[in-house]
Symmetry: C2
Subunit: 278 residues, 2 copies
Amino acid sequence: MNVFIVYAHPEPRSLNGALKNLAVETLTGLGHAVEVSDLYAMGWKAQADGADFLDRADAERLNYARESGHAFATGTQTPDVIAEQEKLLWADAVILQFPLWWFSMPAILKGWVDRVFAFGFAYGVGVHEGERWGDRYGEGKLMGRRAMLSVTIGGREPHYFERGVNGRLDDMLFPIQHGILFYPGMAVLPSYAVFQVNHVSDERWQEIAAGWQARLHGLFDEAPIPYRRQNAGHYDGRQVLKSGLGAGEGGTRIHLVQPGEPPERPLARKIAYETEAL
Amino acid sequence: MNVFIVYAHPEPRSLNGALKNLAVETLTGLGHAVEVSDLYAMGWKAQADGADFLDRADAERLNYARESGHAFATGTQTPDVIAEQEKLLWADAVILQFPLWWFSMPAILKGWVDRVFAFGFAYGVGVHEGERWGDRYGEGKLMGRRAMLSVTIGGREPHYFERGVNGRLDDMLFPIQHGILFYPGMAVLPSYAVFQVNHVSDERWQEIAAGWQARLHGLFDEAPIPYRRQNAGHYDGRQVLKSGLGAGEGGTRIHLVQPGEPPERPLARKIAYETEAL
């Protein structure tokens, strides 16, 4: 299988660098093909702006989403963005490796998302009419792929439980796991999170490495997070969760299929997307 | 009073630009002093990397937090970062004006946070010993200031309710409002969110503008979001919410003081911080 690792840390000898290297080695050893985008080493342009579009539809006033759709449709995206989209389409699994900075991804990685997840590619996909609000949340051009976050965290694990002072890690990652990865169709595995990373002894590194290798071995077998798919019957035509579902849950958790609930319906059709625009 | 607006949109004639301009005009008209950081116009460096430190403590291996603390303490931060920290210290209120891109802030604004919110300035502040885990979540160097997000959103409002397909806006903004703004001590007002911004008629703009002006008039009067302060008695020495508090709530909401709960205790002392390092 093909695995694409997007790696965002400025120091090659960091824990993030070590986890990235271990993933390459482990996955290659398992017979997978691996591609890495090392965003810092590539000098990835983080800010999304008008320079991202080689042939503006409106040269006077920049509407980023509109220009993104125009550039994607006309083949006038910048080469760096096209290369990343090709890696995403090539991949069977995508791993984002990054340190949790201010409870989210580093700016350079957010800029990878802002620029690469184009209109027509990662959003604005599929039919929007009547009660159908496009192909997203479980459907989309990245459907059929798996995704996983591998995150290093300075703080202590109990601070990231629901009642911990920072709040629950899965709530914090929801905008990324649900809003960025599941949105364009990827099945998202639980994150691999390592806490208290400021001082890692050799002994602790052995544990961290073993845990990471175990997760990498399960990359194509583990059950994904059971986020509800938008077009599989649990949301109504207004894109609101139907009453009776998510009972007893609150916050982001109501968007997970709960044990005992009526199953989602199979998706109506197998979706084949045109990718010639790339 | 002094108001600092951090504005992150690449198009001056955007709705974000109009909201920023209206804020400057309205707040100035109310007699406040206003400072704007227009991140795109400033060419703000988004990625956090080794170039942020003019005199590295360790020139061989980059530990970003450690170098951030060293640079802050020794006055060797870059001038762009120092200027933003000075604006934050000058301000009585801070407004972040941005479009919601992929359920979070644009990369350029995340990069403003990653670089400006230095160790010793926004985190790593105060005594860390025994059960005291530093000054954060309601205490810190930005204590006494107010903060508010003003966010434009492409989607429809019902999609951002708790049962809407995207999940609740306040859950999505929690890592920013709680994790970035409340963490270094600011009191956070509810966000001003405008939905379905792709086509805004003149009539709708009048409504949006009136709503925004009303919020700006209340900037120093409105009640902040009642996030629990770390050191005010609701969390135990492990930084975990004490049992009995947050009953009946789940997710991020358990970190809000609930009606009927025992009040937080007053903070033990008025904190005076040294800012000479700037």
